[in-house]
Symmetry: C2
Subunit: 484 residues, 2 copies
């Protein structure tokens, strides 16, 4: 055997080769290169900075962390501080008491020890209490698996449910490509259902049913339904009635409901409200025996935006004890998630309350972030809708707009000549002309023949006018060049 | 379809069902239950505390974190502190300057942002510099993938290399069960090679060769060799000559060398020294084209023992650009590892130096931990070797002893009647009599017909006499009961 022959790329796991992950794909890598070029050769590009609108990463764009959360983290990282007099003038009183309370729940106050594989019990208690108060229905610490962000939880469930390429997972199209990537890595079949752009990315039960039956007729054993609410990349917030129907559908069809609820705090539409699927199921009278349900939450999103801390949890209900043992076993092979992320997950589900010293400043920080996000979403939506050939639904929630771009035939042909999907061609031209990074709709899936981009609402508010101006200028030139 | 039928345990992924992970398996779960019982019903068991010797988790047993590392983490978690006058009296000057230096390498000083999927470039530079200074051969930040501990890196490589059940990975027996678990989860074949207990857990190239040929003759495509150095659970430190032979073997046979080097700082034998496999390969004149090599390191081990922080890295050399792109893609699906762990990984590879304000206290903390671990290893080894039917090799490194227990036939039969492996039966009796938790050898693999336990050297030094006394008393009673 020739040396190193074993690692030729064609000899790698074909599931890995097949997997795609657009959010950090070609365009993001190209943007990194351009950013380096701006540093090493200033003035060599038609713009002076890269504007990252491709990924839900608020703090990379200047959003400041919530002070209270970071005070508690610092104190838990270096508990000696709690014994020093100076600490009282550097930290708020409730951050100090919260850190003490958290440390008291950690055996030996050891924030550097592996924890229980589901996460520290006291922190899971806090998370369960937060869910209970959010939903008005009880939650149980035994049902919580604290994870390094939502992604590892999603992988864990895919790993459990997918046996082979005949096992299917119903996923929305457009979808967050974590799902398509994870299904590909685990060798299953993505069974698509389409969100209806015309009704504000509505989720039609009739389409779900049709896709399920179609997949079953092809011999696919459909095991679970993924619902992302609020939607990514589509930004819609499901109506309560729609959620009832989804829960009923899962119960009737024997599907696991995988509820991606990481944007639960990001609601911008006055007439919309986040309802967890667990709350919906319980309010329908459905209990443990009716519906296997997993809810994913993350510290990366919301007003907290603590992506780099890699914290999150999944709440698992409706699974039998032997299945739960298998989930626990898989979690235990990675020992536990990081303790900083665990602490943060407990904090976002149990933030300062009225009467706490930090409450006023915490509330002010939270409101400022969420109100600003709502304004940014509206400004971008309005700007997109004013451009020729672009139509954009409202971002009711989450952190994204997903405008449709009606590309002229000439642009589609130019893309074809360049061996790119038309929307990827458009996104690449946008990047190269303006420094604005978006992800093309083909990375998320879309109705064939339609073209979209996903643009985050995350650039700081003072940069939004520049994004709009540059985008508009680019789009007009692009359309002038390719108009049929 | 009956509701919830899709999640009957027998319908889960058979790879998951097959996977075993003894370190957090039955005995660990039983120990957790007993610990709860001690809390709720004190006095109900023949011991007053559980002594966890089952897992390499130093801080859970009272080891204190290194002060300098935690100072830097706290400052990076809450950078506002750097602007306050009081901070100077609470933190060492070099922790303050290091935190500033780290924050300066993070775009926007944003410790709450997702980073590059390989980790923050400035931190990878620090890690590469640490490797260069350790080995005397250059290391490159582009080759570093910072990970949430070593385990996710191992999974990533298994995921890349294993296509199906005909792909084999050579693993030592005994081995750390992360490897068997990961190979099972990815559906590959574990190709065992035996470490020779008689020569202090020696790694014989002749056995490697024999097992490789045997596997190939069965149609297994052997893709990689796992070497754990210092050894887990076996505690041996490989001799330099042996490492040369291993590198040559991998080159000649076209195998990827997966080098688990997480115990690189844990060396207790005066005549032994840690050499990285990369240093060995480079000193043989082997470069990028000769050998695909992955080195795993973790912040969980060493004198730092920061298991809960989930930090680590893999250094990847000898892979082609297209293969590296695939590794990057898989890393990017999980976005990035946690930033606290990333910072810590850079700190352990670049600790305080002579002349830094913290150096003396850092050095004192480090030496005290490592010297105490060496004394604990010796005390336990001596104690084991004094007991009837127990023989125990020296722990030259790592954190474990793996004594062989020559169980009487009557005990083996009693185990059989209880449907347990004989060493699991012994370990369970030990736990129930003394509260001491060890892992049975069958969880790691062993020569058929031999029986072992893995016992960490991690209980604090003042508890070691109690461990020894209780163990001795138990063992004498056990042998009296079952002696043939």
């Amino acid at each position: 055997m020739a040396p190193a022959a074993s690692v030729a790329v064609e000899n790698l796991n074909p599931k890995v080769l097949k997997c795609e992950y657009a959010v950090r794909g070609e365009i993001a890598i190209h943007a990194q290169r351009l950013q380096q070029q701006l540093q090493t050769q200033p003035g060599s590009l038609p713009f002076d900075q890269i504007l990252f609108c491709n990924i839900g990463n608020p703090q990379s764009l200047g959003q400041q962390p919530v002070t209270f959360f970071r005070e508690v983290l610092a104190l838990c990282d270096h508990p000696c501080l709690l014994e020093k007099e100076e600490t009282k003038s550097l930290f708020s009183a409730d951050a100090i008491s919260r850190a003490k309370q958290i440390l008291a729940t950690i055996p030996g106050r050891a924030t550097g020890a592996y924890s229980h594989s589901q996460g520290i019990e006291g922190l899971r208690d806090a998370i369960a209490a937060g869910i209970t108060s959010r939903d008005g229905f009880p939650a149980n610490a035994d049902d919580i698996f604290i994870t390094d962000g939502a992604s590892p939880g999603v992988h864990m469930m895919m790993q459990l449910l997918i046996r082979n390429e005949k096992d299917g997972i119903l996923c929305p199209i457009p979808q967050y490509p974590l799902y398509s990537a994870s299904i590909a890595l685990h060798g299953g079949a993505l069974v698509p259902y389409y969100l209806d752009e015309k009704t504000g990315w509505g989720l039609e039960i009739s389409d779900l049913k049709k896709q399920l039956e179609d997949a079953r007729s092809k011999g696919i054993d459909v095991r679970a339904l993924v619902v992302i609410n609020p939607g990514n990349p589509t930004g819609q917030v499901l109506a309560e009635d729609n959620q009832y129907d989804i829960v009923k559908f899962c119960k009737n069809e024997g599907l696991v409901l995988l509820a991606d609820e990481v944007y639960q705090e990001n609601i911008y539409a006055d007439n919309k409200k986040f309802n967890s699927f667990k709350k919906i199921a319980r309010s329908m009278g459905y209990g443990e025996d009716d519906l296997p349900l997993v809810s994913f939450q993350s510290v990366s999103k919301g007003y907290y935006g603590e992506c780099g801390k890699r914290g999150g949890y999944m709440e698992i209900t409706g699974f039998s004890a032997p299945v739960r043992e298998q989930i626990y076993k898989v979690a235990s092979v990675n020992l536990c998630s990081n303790i900083t992320g665990q602490i943060l997950a407990s904090l976002v589900m149990n933030p300062p309350k009225v009467g706490d010293e930090s409450y006023a400043s915490y509330k002010a920080e939270k409101d400022a972030i969420l109100q600003s996000l709502a304004r940014r979403a509206k400004a971008l939506e309005d700007a997109f809708n004013k451009l020729e050939g672009i139509s954009c639904n409202k971002a009711e929630g989450a952190m994204y707009l997903f405008p449709q771009i009606h590309l002229p035939q000439k642009a589609i042909e130019a893309a074809k000549a360049a061996k790119k999907a038309p929307d990827a061609f458009y996104a690449l031209r946008l990047l190269e002309s303006t420094g604005i990074v978006v992800v093309s709709g083909s990375g998320f899936g879309q109705v064939p023949g339609t073209w979209h981009i996903r643009c985050t609402i995350l650039p700081q508010e003072d940069k939004i006018p520049a994004v709009i101006t540059r985008f508009k200028a680019f789009h007009e030139v692009f359309m002038a060049e390719y108009r049929d």
